[in-house]
């Protein structure tokens, strides 16, 4: 089985039923997607599969063979922050940071699809992402700021 992860091709040993989350974390050592619930409930494991947000804990490797996977490592780094990362940082939308990679990749996908989303669309796009620290106000404000900034 194969995956292109953040632009790099990988041939994989994991079986077809192994959750994508496990493949990324344990076989490839890509640890930004988090195992918050491993049952589809929290959104902390979200990655982009061919540009679409997916819960990697519920996605068997066999279902995404050959796909392009983007994690937050493929979106920007400390020296070259993506505007969404910048907004989450400066507007204090990440407190403990555990939900943050999932929130940010979902936001990046949202802004690609809908560059100037309204509050309702932001809330809908992030509704499956649980954050227990920050409260959602600052997160929605950061998404709005990132959208404004990229206008």
């Amino acid at each position: 089985m194969k995956l292109n992860v953040n632009g790099v091709e990988h041939a994989l040993e994991s079986g077809a039923l192994t959750p994508l989350l496990h493949v990324l974390r344990e076989e490839l050592g890509v640890t930004s997607p988090k195992a918050g619930c491993q049952s589809g409930g929290c959104g902390a494991c979200t990655v982009l599969v061919d540009g679409e947000p997916r819960r990697s804990c519920l996605t068997p490797l066999g279902a995404v063979d050959g796909a392009e996977v983007t994690t937050i490592e493929g979106i920007g780094d400390a020296h070259d922050l993506h505007p969404v990362q910048e907004a989450f940082h400066t507007l204090h939308a990440a407190q403990c940071g555990f939900c943050t990679p999932g929130m940010i990749v979902a936001t990046v996908a949202l802004l690609k699809r809908l560059p100037q989303p309204g509050r309702r669309e932001i809330e809908r796009a992030l509704s499956g992402h649980i954050c227990r620290c920050t409260g959602y106000v600052k997160i929605v404000e950061a998404v709005e700021a990132a959208a404004g900034g990229s206008r």
Binding site: R25, G29, T31, S32, K34, A35, G36, C37, Q38, S39, G41, C42, A44, T71, I72, E73, G76, D77, A78, L81, Q85, E86, F88, H89, H92, A94, C96, G97, F98, C99, T100, P101, I104, I130, C131, R132, C133
Partner: protein, 461 residues
């Protein structure tokens, strides 16, 4: 104080937004084993058989630990405060709550560890369970704890009293003078802290005999003490890597995974990781406690509270953990931010066959604060008065005393209630809008509060 009021960059923020913060689960440790837990399927039962040999025969399983492998199995969280120890790290002859850990398996993979847990030979003899604090005092109630159904050691090990008790003023006189009695029963329920990062811990045995422990604990020195205590080793054998916590809210004071992985690492000589599933997190880790609180207030028709009778039953679950401390804190706050001259309070830590309860965001106080504010609104509605005015009339002022006779030098009840009214768009009448928190005098010092003022000049000891 340069940070107060300033916008300060979050020190770990860049790591968070780039996914580079290393949480406990993110450490890559070569050769690491996974641990999984055998837990009680019953609320209450005797363990009649425990045979781990079949688990050791499962391919990939490296070790199994039971209570026999723990140098000091029963350890108290609050022994330093005089609360004796009652809870085993791993169950011995009985299980007292559904989810109580009995044995832990370490194996090459998560799957092998689960297969090992399934292979353990265990049988139980079920016992009646106590699941409702209100039944705990009945003569034929199931026995939830070896100390009895309520915590008996508020005075220290083997020492009464068996509950927290406050008596202030003359409660009978207050009820005789009252125009009305306003009663309420309040039952704030259990809440799971639910950090998005579940409990997880990894331990690496080092070649010099020390143990490196990656922990998501909220209280690193507390947890170090717990590990050292269970293992019977000095603190300098332990190196903790901690401080990155994926949310805790009190739940990560629980220090159970750390000693368990440390024991497995010692037994196997290999690094071991234990990560709870979300199901374990909900069913088997401590929650905020459920409380049962009964109040009867003696009030005058113009809204003064003359006296309060109150009974609190705090559901500790199966073991004490921090509950005696929670009820002690609770007892200091039974009047809320109000001056109540006559008080009769009894508060019990009740044991049940539920998951043990523990810390969560102001535990002990949040339950009573919610209860008292709800009761204040009930008093206002029973008497047909404005709820803000009832609060302001009784609000603590400089020089007032709390139920346990602490003199208040700096109470903020009056300005806070006024600010709440303003934020809610409620117009207060002039008397209440201009009220200050200055020491009582005139109409605000009725006869029943006269003997209650504290000495503001006395030196705090």
């Amino acid at each position: 104080m340069r940070a107060v009021g300033a916008r300060v960059e979050k020190v770990d923020g860049i790591g968070h937004v780039t996914g580079q913060t290393t949480f406990v689960d993110d450490w890559r440790i070569p050769g690491m084993l996974w641990a999984k837990v055998l837990r009680s399927p019953h609320d209450h039962a005797a363990i009649t058989k425990l045979d781990v040999a079949p688990a050791l025969a499962v391919p990939g399983v490296r070790a199994v630990i039971t209570h026999e492998d723990v140098p000091k199995n029963v350890l108290g969280h609050l022994e330093g405060l005089g609360v004796p120890a009652d809870e085993p790290l791993l169950a011995e002859s009985d299980v007292r709550w559904k989810g109580q850990p009995i044995a832990v398996v370490a194996a090459d993979s998560e799957e092998a560890a689960l297969a090992g847990v399934a292979a353990i030979g265990v049988s139980f003899e079920e016992r009646p369970a106590l699941l409702d604090v209100r039944l705990a005092f009945e003569a034929d109630a199931p026995k939830a704890h070896h100390w009895g159904n309520w915590f008996p050691h508020f005075g220290g090990p083997d020492t009464p009293p068996d509950h927290r008790k406050i008596r202030k003023g003359d409660i009978d006189a207050a009820f005789e003078q009252a125009d009305a009695i306003v009663q309420g029963v309040y039952r704030p329920n259990a809440i799971e802290q639910m950090p998005v990062e579940p409990q997880v811990c990894a331990c690496v045995p080092e070649s010099n005999g020390r143990l490196t422990i990656h922990s998501c604990t909220q209280g690193v020195y507390f947890t170090m003490g717990i590990v050292a205590g269970h293992l019977g080793v000095p603190l300098n054998r332990l190196k903790f890597i901690a401080g990155t916590v994926g949310g805790g809210f009190g739940g990560k004071v629980e220090s159970w995974t750390e000693p368990v992985v440390a024991l497995l690492a010692l037994k196997t000589g290999k690094p071991v990781k234990l990560r709870f599933t979300r199901e374990e997190e909900f069913l088997c880790t401590s929650t905020r406690a459920p409380w049962h609180i009964e109040i009867a207030d003696a009030v005058t028709s113009d809204g003064w509270i003359l006296g309060r009778k109150m009974l609190t039953l705090h559901d500790a679950g199966a073991y004490a953990r921090f509950s005696p401390y929670g009820v002690t804190k609770h007892s200091f706050h039974i009047a809320g931010s109000y001056a109540i001259p006559n008080i009769h309070f009894d508060g019990y830590v009740v044991f049940t066959n539920r998951t043990p309860t523990s810390a969560m965001r102001g535990f002990g106080v949040t339950s009573v604060s919610w209860t008292i504010e709800t009761q204040m609104s009930r008093i206002a509605s029973v008497l047909g008065l404005d709820p803000y005015e009832v609060r302001l009339r009784n609000a603590s002022r400089i020089g007032d005393t709390t139920p346990n006779w602490v003199t208040l030098h700096d109470p903020s009840s009056v300005p806070v209630i006024q600010a709440a009214a303003e934020a809610a768009g409620v117009e207060l009448t002039a008397d209440y809008r201009t009220m200050t928190r200055d020491p009582r005098s005139g109409d605000l010092l009725p006869e029943w509060l006269e003997g209650q003022l504290g000495d503001l000049d006395a030196k705090e000891s």
